[in-house]
Amino acid sequence: MAQGLVSFFRRIILLREISSLVMLLAVVLVFFAISPLFLSWENIAVILEIIPELGIVALGVTMLMISGEFDLSVGSVFAFCPIIMTMFVVWGFSPLLSVIIALLVAMLLGALNGFITLFFGIPSFITTLGAMLIWRGAVLLVTGGWPPPFPTEMSTGILVGKLGFLRASIFWYGAIAVLLWFILERTDFGNWVFATGGNQVAARAMGVDTQRVKFINFMLCSLLAGFAGLIQSFRLATTLPSMGTGLEMDAIAATVIGGTALSGGVGTVIGTVIGAFLIRVIDNGLVIVRAPSYWFRVFIGIAIILAVILNSFVRERTKKLRC
């Protein structure tokens, strides 16, 4: 009985997501203790409204990071995609077609990252750092710094329409998370993603087309960033050229807090969902308790370091406590 309890406890500790989950609960409790308003229905609705944008980007970053690559350009694609959409609407294309074109462009930008990284064999950190600057620059060039008017004919219901006190975007986020969890944990492609990031040479020797796996994940990551950008611009009914600035850092933070290894091969969808919640909860909680907003960066910084310490150090220790 006691032994069963110990082994149950060990299993829990060894779960990849546990450290982020504990941190999330702790943060929620602290904010709730300071201000009970924090867990009011109104505030929960606010959190659920802002979470999908970061959350969806972070899921793409996670898939790519597990396969061993980075994408720093997600914040710029996040801004670029809605602007493409608006431009096409202004040129007289139907809103639906404009959305599809914008998403295809986002995917194309991911394909470009993938092609340059894989064909020339350079680090994706560099490729996507370049891409980040280029597409942010392009956004400013295209808009001249002024946001184009958000098309009035745009129907924003399917992405951000209100359903009770929730917005549709949270359901999109949920659906994407479930789909990616399924792909990663239950399909052959998911197995190749882990294998590619975990040991590319071994994966290749076993016939996994590692270049293809990475290329697909580059496209997926960029597509999701563009999609999240559309959600935000629909929610705010604008296309600001500054949208998504710094988002790449938050997305990587959510991913790493959730237990994904920077070096690839390890990571979970659930962890990243928890990581994204943690970041947005800290963000929102600081507002609720009226702390100055610069504390946000400080806390996220602490959360990242703490999560990684908990993940590696505590797990190693626990493993040694075996039987």
Partner: protein, 248 residues
């Protein structure tokens, strides 16, 4: 002009790397069910030779025959389709993945396909991986244990079980006993003998002649990119091979 008394025949293989000549005109053949030991000093070209055979790179010159038929491999995947499986010490496994997922990596068992992705048949993979491990007499707790938690010898065992499960024709082991204790090395040698019992050919690369000699049917010696010896075991002795290996 391949000779089909061999499973694989490599003729006049040359390979250059940025001015370094790694292989110059090597002929190398493996018979059916034969264990060939490939020995030579560091940098002799052993790994290069078998990387060409397993499709990692093409030869700059020379021909490869599989069962008498000429082949050009443009990727490891093509070589593997013919049943040529390569096991590298560090690179055979993904440490952070489970034993089961490693065994089926790239050849997953599926329940059904949904367009581009297939749904993993996890119960069948669990069962089959345990069966495969039992065939090499490897007793492991669970197919879900991480490869990270296995010893070097056990990893070789899993890799060999995998090659057997997928009915490979030729298993190439690059330094399988590197960094292993004496006892673990013995286990690996047992695994290799098990391959032969199943009629699977193998190439066993090592610079430790004392590991190769007891199990090999034939021993090939490389030095500075050239083949300097090719003996059936009964025609030679450890002393003779050692003498050849240490020649300048």
């Amino acid at each position: 002009m391949g000779d089909d008394k061999y499973l694989v025949e490599m003729l006049n293989i040359h390979k250059w790397f940025a001015g370094v000549c790694a292989l110059r005109g090597v002929d190398f053949a493996i018979g059916y069910g034969e264990i060939v030991g490939l020995v030579g000093d560091n940098g002799a070209g052993k790994s290069t030779l078998i990387k060409i055979l397993s499709g990692f790179y093409p030869p700059d010159e020379g021909k490869i025959f599989f069962e008498g038929e000429e082949k050009h491999f443009s990727s490891p995947r093509e070589a593997r389709k013919l049943g040529i499986e390569t096991i590298y010490q560090e690179a055979a496994m993904v440490p952070k993945m489970s034993i089961m997922r490693n065994i089926f990596m790239g050849r997953e068992l599926l329940s059904f396909r949904m367009g581009p992705v297939g749904y993993l048949d996890i119960p069948r993979m669990e069962e089959e991986s345990m069966t495969a491990l039992q065939k090499v007499d490897l007793k492991l707790r669970s197919p879900h244990a991480l490869v990270d938690e296995l010893s070097g010898g056990q990893r070789q065992g899993v890799a060999i079980a995998r090659a057997m499960y997928f009915k490979s024709r030729l298993v190439i082991l690059d330094e399988p006993t590197n960094n292993l204790s004496v006892k673990e090395s013995q286990r690996v040698l047992e695994f290799i003998k098990e391959l032969k019992k199943q009629g699977i050919s193998s190439i066993f690369i090592s610079h430790n002649l004392y590991h190769v000699y007891p199990v090999a049917d034939r021993i090939v010696i490389l030095s500075h990119g050239e083949k300097i010896g090719d003996f059936r075991k009964e025609e030679t002795s450890v002393e003779e091979i050692t003498r050849l290996m240490i020649l300048p």
